[in-house]
């Protein structure tokens, strides 16, 4: 803070010294103008439009700007749509918990066990490399993995672990969860590993010298200090999973419909108002989730 105040003082002094008037005093704002205008026009306006259109009147073939709550009532009174909302929340929760449980030990290894910066970077880059394949193709690649004649069933049968192929692996909610966990787990690992690598080692040594067990050290020092990473990871995963639809449509054979899938279908049949209602609901869920996660730690202070 002291640093930025000094910066500001230096900036003001500078502007006063060369006294070039408007441009020197407001040049800073001019630099920001293009970016801000772009974001307002193409980010704020579309989102505002979505909220507005959700109150429009939808008839079978057209939409008019007469305000009504009809689309909202339809959403909450229909089992299909309300069910999709619950299913979205369920899958989001599964994926969030699984990415955390599966990702944390890896982050622990990268951030705490490996203390060499180069090895850490190599491991993280190794985790990121699959991202160089198109997202959609990576999703599709799960099909030959999970199918009845898929790689997992073949391997399990070869090792004699199962007699009959497992059928629930593909075209179920399970396959959607597996696919999403694999795609998004890296977004959990990265931030946590980053926070873990920043922990001052002398802190842990001090605790050990005072006789703390490994478990106590983890519980009292390592985990609390990694929490900001967990929160950032959870925000990334939540935002991406809640808006998902491609994984669900590729791995569930269009049987598992998330809110995102319904938006796509509704837009396809030009039911704009209805799609907008679901969009607003998703936005609200996401805002609640992010605010809730930010309650856990103060990110601005922690980072």
């Amino acid at each position: 803070m002291a640093d930025s105040t000094a910066d500001m003082a230096a900036g003001t002094a500078h502007a006063a010294r060369d006294g070039r008037g408007f441009l020197a005093r407001h040049g800073n704002y001019l630099l920001l103008v293009p970016g801000v205008i772009w974001m307002i026009l193409f980010l704020v306006v579309p989102l505002g439009m979505m909220v507005y259109v959700s109150f429009w009147t939808q008839t079978t073939f057209s939409i008019s700007s007469d305000l009504t709550l009809q689309s909202w009532i339809t959403f909450f009174s229909s089992d299909t749509y309300f069910g999709a909302l619950l299913r979205t929340l369920k899958i989001w929760l599964y994926v969030l918990v699984l990415t955390f449980v599966i990702g944390y030990p890896t982050a622990l290894f990268i951030g705490q066990v490996v203390r060499n910066k180069t090895v850490q970077t190599v491991l993280l880059v190794t985790c990121v490399i699959p991202f160089w394949t198109s997202f959609l193709i990576r999703v599709l690649a799960w099909r030959p993995m999970l199918g009845v004649e898929g790689a997992i069933n073949i391997l399990l049968q070869k090792f004699g672990l199962i007699a009959e192929p497992i059928e629930v692996l593909l075209f179920t909610e399970l396959s959607v969860v597996i696919g999403m966990v694999q795609i998004y787990v890296v977004f959990m690992v990265g931030p946590i590993a980053f926070m873990l690598a920043r922990i001052d080692e002398s802190l842990i040594e001090a605790a050990r010298d005072l006789g703390a067990s490994t478990w106590t050290i983890f519980r009292k020092i390592i985990f609390p200090l990694s929490l900001p990473g967990v929160v950032v990871g959870a925000i990334f995963v939540s935002v991406m999973v809640l808006g998902e639809f491609a994984t669900a449509s590729a791995l569930s054979g269009r049987k598992v419909n998330l809110l995102g899938n319904i938006i796509v279908t509704q837009v396809g049949s030009l039911k704009w108002a209805f799609a907008a209602v679901i969009g607003v609901i998703l936005t609200v869920i996401m805002a609640v989730v992010i605010t809730g996660l930010l309650r856990i730690v103060n990110l601005r202070r922690a980072l």
Binding site: S4, T5, D7, G11, N28, L31, L32, G35, V36, W38, M39, L41, F42, L43, V44, P46, L47, M49, M50, I102, G103, P105, T106, L108, F109, V113, L123, T126, C127, W132, T133, S134, L136, I137, R138, L140, A141, W142, R143, P144, M145, G147, E149, G150, I154, Q182, T214, V239, G243, F245, A246, S249, G260, I263, V264, V267, W272, A276, G279, M286
Partner: protein, 283 residues
């Protein structure tokens, strides 16, 4: 200490399994892309090893019941779009980050406004933009409505990268140039830009790859001339064939080529900086 070593080994082994989990589908995809064609399907066992599906991607095989992937033009569009997005978002990101080097009132608002662009799910933004286009009466095109959304998505990444670069940047060098009477434009070109170049390169890489693979934002806004990811999404509806895997392997190789170019440019720029420093020392 004994138990600690055991713990380390377990975590190491676990990380190995984790990486296998990340690469599993990828490996399966690589193997299946060499499936025999055109009768071989996208599953095990491999009937016979062949490069049939690679030839199929390039349209070198005789016509069969499997339609060729609708790439070509879509790929060209995606690359053009990624390039334009890269240029615009890097410029916007650099300008905005430069603006953040002085504290100003409303900086929190601008910061969150920009970062919001990478947080809002693509499907919502695509929907909103489609609604706006519908009401204003503009056509939805990949170079118009889709392009502006791509920039909304990649500009925050460029901005954050540049912000990190400017934070670590020694201001006194620039101030020395000003003090010596070098005009601001020239200072930027000769002093500031070479110093921030690695950051600019990273921002460009981010923007290009994100835009190239962008899908949910494009789905509702690209109109009838589709980009590469939309073309692939189109194949979801029908039966999939190993040609999509062959194509996946090829695009991955392309990505690696891109990454290598980035690596080479980065090394060169670091080396040039080092040489300059050594020369300065000698002088």
């Amino acid at each position: 200490m004994q138990s600690n070593n055991l713990l380390r080994t377990i975590l190491g082994a676990y990380t190995g399994l984790f990486i296998l989990f990340l690469y599993g589908p990828f490996i399966v995809m690589g193997i299946l892309s060499f499936q025999a064609g055109p009768e071989g399907g996208p599953q095990f066992p491999i009937i016979e090893w062949s490069t049939y599906w690679y030839q199929h991607v390039f349209g070198l095989t005789p016509p069969s019941r499997v339609a060729p992937l609708p790439i070509g033009e879509a790929l060209l569009r995606s690359l053009t779009l990624a390039f334009a997005t890269m240029v615009v978002s890097t410029v916007l990101g650099t300008l905005t980050a430069q603006g953040f080097r002085r504290n100003f009132r409303g900086s929190g608002f601008v910061f969150y406004l920009v970062v919001l662009g990478m947080m809002v799910p693509g499907v919502l933004l695509g929907l909103g933009m489609a609604l706006v286009a519908d009401q204003v009466g503009i056509d939805r095109t990949w170079w118009g409505t889709a392009f502006v959304l791509h920039v909304v998505y990649t500009f925050p990444f460029a901005f954050l990268v540049m912000l990190a670069i400017f934070n670590r940047f020694d201001k006194s060098v620039e101030e020395a140039a000003w003090a010596l009477g070098v005009p601001p434009g020239r200072t930027f070109r000769k002093v500031t830009f070479p110093m921030i170049f690695p950051g600019v390169l990273s921002a460009m890489l981010f923007a290009f790859t994100l835009s190239y693979d962008e899908f949910p934002r494009t789905l509702f806004t690209a109109g009838s001339d589709v980009t590469m990811p939309i073309a692939i999404y189109g194949t979801f509806a029908v039966e999939i064939h190993p040609n999509i895997f062959a194509f996946g392997v090829l695009t991955t190789l392309f990505s690696f080529a891109l990454l290598s170019v980035y690596g080479v440019l980065m090394t060169l720029s670091v080396r040039r900086a080092k040489t300059a420093a050594v020369q300065e020392e000698i002088a």
